[in-house]
């Protein structure tokens, strides 16, 4: 049966179909470099025209479990094609490839571990026990560093295992590259497909299924460009199994050119700079920027004009340092010019493209959670909304401010800086004392108060370079007032798609970023979330990642417990049965023993707060020595 191809809406305009893409590239020579636009889309295929799958034969199953030789002899090559693919990843400074092994990328995997002067380095292979864990690791790494690492997974099955994690990263607008092996000829048909990227197309930004080595190298580079260009989101390259094993001949790796991310116009920059300079009391609200460089620019801008700053550093990564002297309400809250950088503001908001710009990839029409832009939902409605990447815009504003700043104004700015700094500190101390007053109740309680858990941690880590990688919504978010979120990665934020099974893998990814940077990762791990994909415990132990896991063990999916309890109350029956299906009772789960089984040092369960404090010290010591550690703490529910 012939397959009928249908172009997706995304293929229209400047995008081309997969066949067009192939046709455009094969005519070129070995070092032909394609225009990025030629790589920008893949073909969607109508489901009803897909070939029907048949169960695997006995021989194929034997091949899968390793008891049979591959059906096709593998040729020895002088220069392996997959070595060039690894060279592209090296050139892009991809630090890690988290993989769950599959039989469609043995060529690439062999190159990853054996190719180069320093094999298995930049990128280093990270063993993941589940494809979802591999993608979650890439997600945590991407949020922490503002740049991608790769997750390498197997065909249709691996992609579906990883799909929830990809969906989460999509809503987290996180840069990461998924590589999926695909063996079209010699393998289980159910592991392959003609357009396997379609499985995740509605919640990826871009995909490609190259059919030559040259296309593959270009696709890897384009994937990198796409994922770091706003809106940042996961991208996918489907890697043909046979191409990986080919002879590369004299083919050279194409020269990579970084993306050009455009900001506001010079005219707009001049106008914003003028308003910031002339304002008596300017304010800047900073949301999530893309990279640490963006934060540095934002700090420079705020200091140049002595604007008071509102930060998002306590709700997610890549925002303005929380304890910078300008963060706070300033000397008074009558702001006469309010600028938003990826955040709503009264006068001007500069906001980059969001996920809505990718809606055409949702060819099935699922419309996953498309709602109003959450960054604009709660804040003031700006007089002017500029659709442009804020990070790319800030340097233009900084330059314009520097040009326009006159000596006469510098004096008043200096005075404002001094006044704001003073008032912000007063405000901070008042807020801190109020917060501590609220966190005192239950201090000596057993099981442990969550507020105390966060409070006891802070003196132990405050002088270290740390990253709080886990979502903290369920454990009370007590770090917001008590800790100092001054680094781009201080807090990596909530579950972007509110889906469980994320915290452990993403924290492991953050710990990958931390390992060679003399940084430690704190993961306050919800027990319900833990049980989806606990295998990251082994990955962290195996790779010696500096991650301290402190279980928030309330022995329940607690939010759901409260929902069912409420429903029973509404219906006037059985409020004493709400624990059914919502709690982990009979038997209780022993997380310390699970960790021990995976080879991670651990202790617990602990319900006495004094014992917890001693355990935290031991845990921090272990992590500082490069050993992950888990402490199972029985806590108050919330």
């Amino acid at each position: 049966m012939a397959n009928k191809r249908t172009n997706t809406p995304a293929d229209k305009g400047n995008r081309i179909s997969r066949r067009g893409f192939i046709g455009a590239s094969v005519v070129g020579g070995a070092t032909t470099v394609l225009a990025p636009a030629a790589l920008a889309g893949s073909t969607g295929i109508s489901d009803k025209n897909q070939p029907k799958s048949t169960p695997p034969s006995e021989q194929k199953m034997e091949r899968e479990v390793g008891s049979s030789v591959p059906p096709k002899p593998v040729q020895s090559v002088r220069r392996a094609a997959s070595d060039l693919m690894v060279q592209v990843l090296k050139d892009l400074e991809i630090e890690y490839v988290a993989l769950n092994p599959g039989s469609s990328f043995e060529g690439l995997q062999e190159s990853l571990i054996n190719y180069g002067d320093k094999p298995n380095s930049m990128p280093e292979v990270i063993s993941a026990l589940h494809e979802g864990s591999a993608v979650d690791m890439a997600h945590g790494y991407g949020r922490s560093e503002g740049k991608p690492m790769c997750a390498l997974i197997q065909g249709t099955v691996g992609l579906q295992n990883g799909s929830m994690a990809i969906y989460q990263a999509f809503h987290g607008q996180t840069p990461l590259i998924v590589l999926a092996g695909n063996d079209e000829h010699n393998f289980l048909k159910v592991h392959t497909g003609e357009d396997i990227a379609a499985l995740v197309r509605p919640f990826t930004k871009w995909d490609a299924q190259p059919e030559t080595l040259e296309q593959t190298l270009l696709a890897l580079q384009e994937a990198y460009r796409q994922t770091i260009t706003p809106p940042c989101a996961p991208v996918l390259v489907v890697l043909n199994s046979e191409i990986q094993k080919q002879e590369a001949g004299d083919l050279q790796v194409p020269i990579y050119s970084p993306p050009k991310i455009s900001g506001i116009s010079q005219q707009q920059a001049d106008s914003i700079a003028q308003n910031l300079i002339l304002a008596n009391n300017p304010r800047i609200s900073v949301g999530r920027l893309r990279t640490p460089e963006g934060i540095n620019s934002a700090v420079e801008l705020a200091e140049l004009v002595a604007a008071s700053v509102q930060t998002s550093a306590t709700t997610g990564p890549m925002s303005f340092p929380q304890r910078h002297p300008l963060v706070g309400p300033g000397s008074n809250n009558s702001y006469d010019y309010h600028l938003g950088l990826e955040k709503a503001a009264a006068q001007v908001s500069i906001t980059g493209p969001d996920l809505k710009s990718l809606i055409e990839r949702d060819v099935a029409g699922v419309r996953f959670g498309w709602k109003e832009d959450p960054t604009l939902r709660r804040g003031p409605k700006p007089e002017t909304l500029i659709s442009a990447d804020a990070e790319a815009s800030i340097p233009l504003i900084v330059s314009a401010v520097k040009e326009q700043l006159k000596a006469s104004i510098r004096k008043s700015i200096a005075e404002r800086l001094q006044a704001s700094t003073k008032e912000n500190h007063v405000f901070r101390m008042k807020s801190l004392r109020q917060a501590i007053e609220k966190k005192r109740p239950g201090w000596n309680d057993t099981p442990v108060s969550l507020a105390r858990m966060y409070a006891e941690l802070w003196p132990l880590i405050k002088d270290l370079d740390w990253c709080l990688a886990s979502p903290t919504h369920f454990s009370g978010r007590h770090h917001r007032e008590l800790w100092d979120h001054d680094k781009p990665y201080s807090y990596l934020g909530q579950f972007p798609a509110a889906a469980l099974g994320y915290g452990l893998g993403s924290s492991t990814g953050a710990a990958l970023a931390a390992r060679d940077r003399d940084r430690i990762v704190i993961n306050i791990q919800a027990d319900g979330d833990f049980n989806y994909m606990p295998g990251s415990i082994w990955s962290a132990a195996h790779h010696k990642l500096p991650m301290l896991i402190i279980m928030h063990n309330n022995r329940a999916w607690h939010m759901e417990l409260m929902y069912v309890q409420y429903m029973a109350g509404v219906r006037g029956r059985g409020t004493d049965r709400a624990h059914i299906g919502t709690t982990f009772r009979d038997p209780y789960i022993n997380f310390a023993k699970i960790a021990e089984g995976y080879g991670m040092k651990s202790e617990g369960p602990i319900s006495d707060p004094k014992q917890m404090v001693a355990a935290l010290k031991r845990g921090i010591d272990a992590v500082r020595n490069g050993e992950p550690y888990l402490i199972d703490v029985l806590t108050q529910p919330r």
């Binding site: 008590l482 509404v570 108050q636």
Partner: protein
């Protein structure tokens, strides 16, 4: 709709009056007719701990008689029962309903007796090493 409005109003009035009375009146021991031991099991089984913690400290604190609703058995029962007339379309994390079909008066009073045993004696911030360390760390960042 009218029933819901009346219930909502009643809860609001009871809560507000109870708080006001509690603040104004000298502390007098409230009558406790329930069995605290039985109440302990009921407090757990009916999920009170979910929001109020195992010891009366949680999202909404009960220890140390901070809630005006706990000033007397009568006020507590009115609050508990009035809510059962509310039927919002979606479950939320608000205080669940406890009509008599879920929880008898006697059981409710047993829970009341147990709640009244809660006492919380946290350290003062200045006398606690951890809290002091947090405050001192922030203070050390004062502008020169």
């Amino acid at each position: 709709m009218i029933k819901i409005l009346i219930s909502t109003l009643l809860i609001s009035v009871v809560s507000s009056l109870a708080s006001t009375v509690l603040k104004a009146a000298p502390a007098t021991p409230a009558m406790i007719s329930g069995n605290a031991d039985k109440g302990e099991a009921l407090y757990y089984n009916h999920g009170c701990y979910a929001c109020h913690g195992y010891n009366g400290i949680g999202k909404h604190n009960l220890a140390n008689d901070v809630s005006g609703i706990m000033m007397s058995e009568a006020v507590y029962l009115i609050f508990l029962r009035a809510r059962s007339e509310l039927n919002p379309p979606l479950p939320t994390q608000r205080m669940p309903h406890y009509p008599e079909s879920s929880l008898s008066d006697q059981e409710a009073l047993d829970i009341y007796a147990y709640i009244r045993t809660f006492k919380d004696t946290p350290p003062e911030a200045e006398s606690n090493a951890t809290m002091r360390a947090i405050i001192n760390s922030a203070q050390s960042q004062a502008p020169q």
